[in-house]
C-alpha cells in the first residue's frame, strides 16, 4: 500500500528576473499516517516551498504531492498550518482568531467555540480568550496559532519553523505542549526547524536536507520513548543522534546548522 503522504519527484523552479532558479529538485520521500516528521536543512534550501506544495498553496513545476493517493492540485483543506510568525489577525481576540478556522469552514459555531476554548485551555491559555494579540507574549501568540491550526482536527499538521522566534525557555515548554497535543491525536506532522535538538526531541523521523537545490542527505529514525521529557536531551542516545546529524551537516560543508 502506498504511503499516506507522497512527495514524488517534486521540482519547484522560480522564474527570477535573471534566469530560472531551482529551489527544489526532484525531491521524493513518503510519510506514514500519524508520523511526526522533522526536516532540518540550511536556509533557502526549499523547505518552506515543499510545505506549501503539500498544502496545495503552490504547485510543483514538475512532479506531484499526493495525500492518500490523491494528487494535491488545489489548497488542501484537511490540514492545519503554523508559520514562524503566529500570523494572528490583530483586530481579533485569541478566541476569535482560533474561530476564524470555523468561520471560513462554516461549521457549527457553538461546537467549534467549545472546542476552541478547550484547545486554548489545553495550551495554558484559559482566561486569555478575550485578549488581543498585542496583549499576548510571543509564546502565547504561537499557542493561539497552534490552536487555530488544530480546531478542525486536520489529518495533517504543517509547521514551518514555528518556534524559531521564541526564547529558549518558552520554546522548551511549547515543545512539551506540542508533544502532548500530538500524542493525544497522532496526526501526521511535517515540522521544519533549524534546531537539531528540537527535531530530535519532537520527531519520529528526521530528514536532513542539503543546501539548495535540496537533496535528502540523511534520514534518521528517532526511537526515544514517549512522552519524552526535557531530561531526555541529556541521554547518550539523544546526544548521539544530535551528533550524527551535526556530522551530516559538517560533511555537507554547512558550517553552522543553527542558521536563522
Amino acid at each position: 500500500m502506498a504511503s499516506f503522504v507522497e512527495f514524488d519527484q517534486v521540482t519547484k523552479a522560480f522564474d527570477t528576473g535573471d534566469g530560472v532558479m531551482t529551489a527544489v529538485d526532484e525531491m521524493s520521500f513518503d510519510l506514514d499516517r500519524g508520523e511526526f516528521l522533522a526536516i532540518v536543512g540550511p536556509s533557502g534550501c526549499g523547505k518552506s516551498t515543499l510545505l506549501l506544495a503539500l498544502a496545495g498553496l503552490t504547485q510543483p513545476t514538475t512532479g506531484q504531492v499526493r495525500v492518500a493517493g490523491r494528487p494535491i492540485l488545489e489548497p488542501y483543506t484537511d490540514l492545519g498550518i503554523v508559520f514562524q510568525g503566529a500570523e494572528l489577525l490583530p483586530w481579533r481576540t485569541a478566541l476569535q482568531n482560533v474561530m476564524l478556522q470555523a468561520e471560513i469552514r462554516r461549521g457549527s459555531k457553538r461546537e467549534s467555540e467549545a472546542r476552541a476554548r478547550e484547545l486554548l485551555a489545553q495550551v495554558g491559555l484559559g482566561g486569555f480568550e478575550d485578549r488581543y494579540p498585542d496583549e499576548l507574549s510571543g509564546g502565547m501568540q504561537q499557542r493561539v496559532s497552534l490552536c487555530r491550526a488544530l480546531l478542525h482536527d486536520p489529518e495533517i499538521l504543517v509547521m514551518d519553523e514555528p518556534f524559531g522566534a521564541l526564547d529558549a525557555l518558552t520554546r522548551d515548554q511549547i515543545q512539551i505542549d506540542l508533544q502532548h497535543l500530538w500524542m493525544e491525536r497522532r496526526k501526521t506532522v511535517v515540522f521544519v526547524t533549524h534546531s537539531i535538538d528540537e527535531a530530535v526531541f519532537l520527531a519520529d523521523r528526521v530528514l536532513v536536507f542539503s543546501p539548495r537545490p535540496a537533496r535528502i542527505a540523511a534520514d534518521f529514525r528517532v526511537s526515544l520513548d514517549r512522552p519524552r521529557h526535557l531530561s531526555a536531551r541529556a541521554t547518550p542516545e539523544f546526544a548521539g543522534l544530535v551528533g550524527e546529524i551535526r556530522e551530516v551537516f559538517e560533511n555537507l560543508g554547512v558550517l553552522t546548522e543553527e542558521r536563522t
Binding site: 498550518i81 510568525g85 500570523e87 468561520e103 471560513i104 485578549r131 488581543y132 498585542d134 512539551i176
Partner: protein
C-alpha cells in the same frame, strides 16, 4: 500543565497594559489648553491691530465683526452653502465609488496594476485645479463641473491609499485562509478588507479636506451659486468682511466634514489591540 512562559493572571496583565496607555490627566488637559491659549493670543493681537493699529476695515476686519457678520447674514451664507456642500458630497462620494474598485482591481490584477499605477503617479503631479477652467467650458456653470472637480481632486489620495491598504494583508494570512478553503470573497472580507480600512481612511481624510478646496476653486472659476461665488463677488466689491465670513464658514464646513469622517472611522475601524489604527501609509 505548568509553564515557564508568562502565564500571568489575566487581571494583572490587563491593569498593567491599560494603566500604561493612559497618560496623566494634567498632561492631557494641557494638550487641550495650550493650543486654545495660542488661539486667544492670535485673536487678541488681530483685534488690537484693528482697534489700535489703524488697520482699515476693508483690509482687515476685526475678528468680532467677522463673527457678527457670519450670523447677521446667516440666511445668505446658508443659502450659498447648500450648492457648495452638495457639490462636495456628491463629488466626494463619486471619488470613493470610483477609487475603491480601481484599487481592488489593481491589487488583484497585475495587468491592471501595471497599466494604471504609473498613470496615477504621473497624474498626481498634474495640478488638478488648473483643469477647472476646462470643466467650465465643457459642462457650463452649474453643479456638474464642481462635482467633477471635487471628485478629481479627492480621487488620487483615496485610490493610492486604498491600494496600499488592500496590499497590506500579510501573504501568510492569505495563505492560511486559503488553506481553510476560503473563497476569494471570504479572503477579501475576512483578511484584506480589515487590513485595508485604516489606510483607506487615511486617504479619505486627505480627500475630504481637498474636497472643500476643489469645490471652492470650481466656484471661483465660474459658477452661478455657492460660497465660492459669494466670496469672489464680495472681493469684487472690496467687501472684506463678507470674504472673511465666507472663509470662516468654509472652514466650519471643512472641519465638520472632517469630524464626520473621523467619527465614521472610529465606528468602522476594527480595534487593533490598544491602538485604534495602524500607521497610515501611502500618499501625502
Amino acid at each position: 500543565m505548568t509553564s515557564t512562559d508568562q502565564r500571568k493572571k489575566p487581571a494583572t496583565a490587563s491593569t498593567g497594559t491599560r494603566a500604561r496607555r493612559r497618560r496623566p490627566l494634567r498632561s492631557r488637559i494641557a494638550d487641550g489648553v495650550l493650543p486654545l491659549i495660542l488661539v486667544v493670543v492670535i485673536v487678541a493681537v488681530w483685534q488690537a491691530m484693528v482697534s489700535f493699529g489703524g488697520v482699515k476695515e476693508y483690509v482687515l476686519p476685526a475678528p468680532g465683526a467677522v463673527v457678527k457678520k457670519m450670523f447677521s447674514d446667516f440666511g445668505t451664507f446658508a443659502d450659498q452653502s447648500v450648492p457648495t456642500i452638495i457639490a462636495i458630497f456628491v463629488g466626494f462620494a463619486l471619488a470613493i465609488v470610483v477609487a475603491l474598485p480601481i484599487a481592488v482591481a489593481m491589487v488583484y490584477s497585475s495587468v491592471v496594476r501595471r497599466a494604471v499605477y504609473p498613470l496615477l503617479i504621473v497624474a498626481q503631479v498634474v495640478p488638478k485645479v488648473a483643469i477647472a477652467p476646462l470643466f467650465i467650458i465643457w459642462f457650463g456653470f452649474g453643479q456638474l463641473p464642481k462635482v467633477l472637480m471635487v471628485a478629481l481632486i479627492c480621487f488620487f489620495p483615496v485610490v493610492i491609499d486604498s491600494m496600499v491598504g488592500f496590499r497590506a494583508a500579510r501573504p501568510e494570512s492569505l495563505m492560511l485562509v486559503r488553506s481553510m478553503g476560503a473563497s476569494r470573497w471570504q479572503a477579501f472580507w475576512k483578511v484584506r478588507w480589515p487590513w485595508a480600512v485604516p489606510s483607506i481612511f487615511a486617504g479619505v481624510k486627505v480627500g475630504i479636506t481637498l474636497a472643500v478646496v476643489g469645490a471652492v476653486v470650481a466656484e471661483f472659476v465660474g459658477a452661478d451659486t455657492g460660497l465660492g461665488v459669494l466670496l469672489i463677488t464680495a472681493r469684487g466689491d472690496m467687501d472684506s468682511l463678507t470674504v472673511f465670513a465666507s472663509v470662516a464658514w468654509l472652514t466650519v464646513i471643512g472641519a465638520v466634514l472632517f469630524g464626520v469622517v473621523e467619527l465614521l472611522e472610529r465606528v468602522l475601524v476594527p480595534r487593533r489591540g490598544g491602538r485604534r489604527s495602524f500607521e497610515a501609509s501611502g500618499s501625502l
